[in-house]
């Protein structure tokens, strides 16, 4: 091994007046089992304490550390330097608002998404503290969990051509969220209700199906299947709308 790593890192602090975005280079000796989490912290602690980036769990669980790693969206804490060439270029995720350097504001983007898709169980049932829980088939519970594993890292959005072009495009993550609720019997929304949310070019019909999203999803969510599933379902819903007696 004994490599010396060269990091080209995007630098821009929007709050510092009179500065422009630029790339800056840092050099570090590689150590065994080094990840980008270790490397970036070392750079900050030893070379430039103003360097901004986001880590939280450092274990691939929370989704905080999405960034462009040699051009590809990914989680920095999960990325080992030994899997990268000696020269590593780090850029903030596109689409999201830049906070500074490698840090972006995913929180606002996702909060807006929850509002658009109504990211909660829609039901008119009241919770009864004295009653036994409603039953659910375990296999179904597992299927729902499978779609709920998304960590909202934003990689799929950043990797999506449509999302980069269309500001209002919901993105694979939001469509997957809809699929999750559509699967859940506790949510009383109908296909027509979902159609209202995603039945246009900002939703399922804007997706070009090129699957940049699934390729970069660090949680390996089955985004392709969900997009296909929704497209069929929404296509049918669109047709039914024009049939007599539709509801």
């Amino acid at each position: 091994m004994d490599r010396t790593l060269k990091f080209n890192i995007f630098r821009y602090n929007p709050m510092a007046q009179g500065t422009a975005p630029r790339m800056e280079t840092f050099v570090l000796p590689e150590i065994p089992s080094m990840t980008l989490f270790i490397a970036l912290n070392q750079i900050r602690e030893e070379q430039d304490p103003s360097l901004q980036f986001d880590f939280c769990c450092r274990a691939g669980i929370c989704g905080a550390c999405g960034m462009l790693i040699n051009g590809r969206p990914g989680l920095a804490c999960k990325t080992k330097t030994k899997d990268l060439p000696e020269e590593i270029t780090l850029l903030p995720l596109p689409v999201f608002k830049l906070v500074g350097d490698l840090s972006v504001d995913t929180g606002s983007w996702f909060r807006e998404m929850y509002a658009r898709v109504g990211s909660w169980i829609h039901t008119d049932k009241q919770f009864d503290p004295l009653a036994e829980e409603e039953r659910m088939d375990n296999a179904l519970a597992n299927e729902i969990y499978e779609l709920e594993r998304c960590v909202e890292c934003g990689c799929c959005v950043a990797g999506c051509g449509t999302a980069r072009m269309r500001k209002d495009f919901l993105g694979a993550v939001a469509l997957n969220r809809i699929a999750r609720f559509a699967l859940d019997p506790r949510d009383q929304r109908t296909d027509r209700d979902y159609f209202e949310i995603i039945g246009d070019d900002n939703g399922i019909f804007g997706c070009m199906g090129l699957l940049g999203c699934e390729d970069v999803c660090p949680k390996e969510l089955p985004l392709q299947d969900q997009l296909g599933f929704l497209r069929r379902k929404m296509g049918l819903t669109a047709i039914r709308r024009f049939l007599p007696g539709a509801k």
Binding site: M15, G63, G100, D105, G107, F127, E133, N138, R149, D187
Partner: protein
């Protein structure tokens, strides 16, 4: 400067903060939650294993009840907990799980019929009843008499937090993320809100509220090796301590988890052992059953961690460049179980160790994991010392965990306590009126601005904040770990006092402009060292062994002198030690102090005479 006025200000948008927020929002009050990160990245999302509630649906949970849960919790706490609080918790836990199901958590459910499970490496058969099919199921965890831990694969915290945040969004709870509270605004008797720094722009903001809740999670990052997220650094606790009037309870009670992976100290869940995983030594032999014939790997965490360190000291550890460790073996659980029910564990091993747990052993050792101590509250969640200040979740010392928390009891605490305390906060809000002394607010803001100015200009010196932090972490790691003694603790206290002096001389290396991360750390650094001193000094003074607090020089649990809770207050800026007071651990005894049934150890009974002064 922006000022926000609200009814309830929650410092923290993890499970505890959001659960309280939901209660208040549901009652029609305005709520703002602050969080360093987007709500869903809060550390609650990292919990894999599950949460305890005595539903008794699964075959191995049959006969479970809140009473049995209560017994386990009190034993687990080594009789250090408030029994009234433990009772409230156990009685409410089943309702809370069902409510989370109603809001959308995809709990794993009972599947009727025969299936296999493992215990201590052996395979057993069980049969789930047809009439329970589809109800919330449970898995085994350490220190519990029944299988009681509800879960969603190994993404329990993730699914529960996402569901909670969905509910909060539905009710219109405002979450100001990338916003860090840096000080509390109070007049010595009442809490009025907080000053926070926006981590997008670096600007200061004032939040004024009728009630303020501290739900900022744990402070594990004051240790060098911790399973906690990097944001669990104790900044909010430091701000509470800086009020000078609010005490922190039982800060010396720090939990070490048996299975942090070496070298990154990422946690692999206790569910691994609950599902039948075993601990092996350098000879790849099991050892826990030798020390704990009955519970073996499933004794409580303090006990397992201690025996692991003991075994390493006996020369049975595995050498590695990162020091000695032991092995966790889950290979016999089989590929399907590991890839599905322990999926996160599988991912963590593959990604961070380059090891496939289906075929290989996992290198583990005990590392800092949970803070039993925190902002001392009464059973209603109201903090001591300031009216209008509440606390819930890991940040609080509510105190159902005493000196050792059982696995699965913390996630459950956040949700149960959040619900119970939420109701009390709503009661308080109904009776509260807002009066804000503008002078108090202006004074607090001016002091924070002055702190920032001095740090940026290097007015007090040029100590490097990262070096100061490392010195603090090392002092705790070396002197206030699993096994403690007078000599080590005295050394740690002395070192921390020096580090405290250095922390007052920090100067920034960078310009401090915008969302500058160096400034964020520098602002809390002196307070973090004060927290560390509460831990170290509290541990030095407590001359007994109870739960996670193991004194080699005082191996007995001393109920005669120490059936107490430590209260640490930082009375004045110039102090270099906390002031310690004590109160009874519990006011009511549903179960009198007794043997835990694991962990061995001698007990000096409550009523043993004569009662000499506390020897230090």
């Amino acid at each position: 400067m922006q000022t926000f006025v609200t009814d309830l200000l929650c410092i923290g948008a993890g499970l505890a903060g959001e659960r309280v927020a939901i209660e208040a929002a549901g009652a029609g009050f305005d709520v703002i939650c602050l969080s360093i990160v987007p709500a869903r990245r809060s550390h609650s999302s990292a919990a894999q294993g599950g949460m305890q509630a005595a539903l008794g649906n699964s075959a191995m949970g049959e006969g479970d009840s809140p009473d049995v849960h209560f017994m386990d919790t009190v034993k687990g706490s080594d009789w250090g907990c408030d029994q009234e609080v433990a009772r409230i918790f156990c009685d409410n836990a089943p309702i809370a799980m069902r409510q989370m199901a109603h809001w959308g958590v995809p709990w794993n459910r009972v599947v009727a019929g025969k299936s296999f499970y493992y215990k201590g490496g052996e395979r057993y058969e069980k049969e789930e009843k047809a009439e329970k099919e589809g109800l919330i199921t449970a898995r085994a965890f350490g220190g519990t008499a029944k299988w009681r831990t509800c879960y969603t694969s190994d993404g329990t915290g993730h699914t529960v937090l996402y569901t909670m945040d969905n509910r909060a969004a539905q009710l219109g709870v405002a979450v100001h993320d990338k916003t860090e509270m840096i000080s509390l605004i109070h007049d010595g008797g009442r809490c009025l809100g907080a000053v926070a720094r926006c981590l997008k722009t670096g600007e200061l903001r004032v939040y004024l509220a009728k009630a303020t809740l501290i739900a900022a999670g744990g402070f594990g990052r004051i240790y060098r090796e911790s399973t906690n997220a990097v944001i669990c650094d104790g900044g909010a606790h430091a701000a509470v301590l800086d009020t000078g009037v609010v005490p922190l309870g039982n800060m010396e009670a720090v939990q070490f988890h048996p299975t942090g992976i070496v070298p990154t100290y990422i946690l692999v869940t206790e569910g691994c052992r609950g599902d039948g995983g075993t601990l092996l030594d350098v000879n790849q032999e099991r050892f826990m059953h030798v020390y704990e014939p009955d519970k073996a790997e499933l004794a409580s965490r303090d006990v397992v961690s201690r025996w692991m360190m003991h075994h390493i000291r006996e020369g049975k550890g595995v050498q590695s460049p990162y020091g000695q460790h032991l092995w966790l073996d889950i290979r016999h659980l089989g590929e399907e179980h590991i890839r599905v029910k322990l999926r996160e564990v599988d991912e963590i091993c593959q990604n961070f160790l380059g090891v496939d747990p289906v075929h290989s052993l996992i290198p583990v050792k005990p590392v800092q994991h949970y803070s039993m101590g925190g902002v001392r509250t009464n059973k209603d969640g109201a903090a001591y010392g300031l009216a209008g200040l509440f606390s819930a979740g890991e940040a609080a010392c509510w105190d159902m965990h005493g000196f050792n928390r059982l696995g699965g009891n913390s996630l459950a605490e956040t949700v149960v306590a959040g619900g119970v305390i939420g109701v009390k906060v709503v009661d308080y809000l109904r009776g509260a009126s807002a009066q804000y002394g503008t002078a108090v607010v202006a004074d607090r803001v001016a002091r924070d601005q002055e702190r920032i100015r001095r740090l940026t200009e290097g007015a007090d010196g040029s100590e490097d904040v990262y070096k100061v932090r490392a010195a603090m972490q090392d002092a705790l790691q070396d002197g206030v770990h699993i096994f403690r003694n007078k000599e080590g603790l005295e050394r740690a206290v002395a070192t921390l006092q020096e580090v405290h002096a250095r922390a007052k001389r920090i100067g920034l290396k960078s310009d401090g402009v915008g969302a500058n991360p160096e400034l964020a750390l520098a602002l809390k650094m002196p307070g973090l060292v004060r927290l560390a001193l509460c831990v170290a000094h509290g541990a030095l003074m407590r001359t007994e062994s109870r739960g996670s607090h193991a004194r080699e020089d005082f191996p007995e649990r001393n109920d005669r002198d120490w059936l107490t809770r430590t209260l640490a207050t930082w009375k004045s800026e110039g102090d270099d030690l906390p002031t310690l007071d004590y109160e009874p651990a519990t006011r009511t005894f549903e179960i009198p102090p007794g043997e835990r049934g694991y962990g061995g150890g001698k007990i000096i009974p409550m009523d043993s005479a004569p009662k000499p002064g506390k020897e230090n």
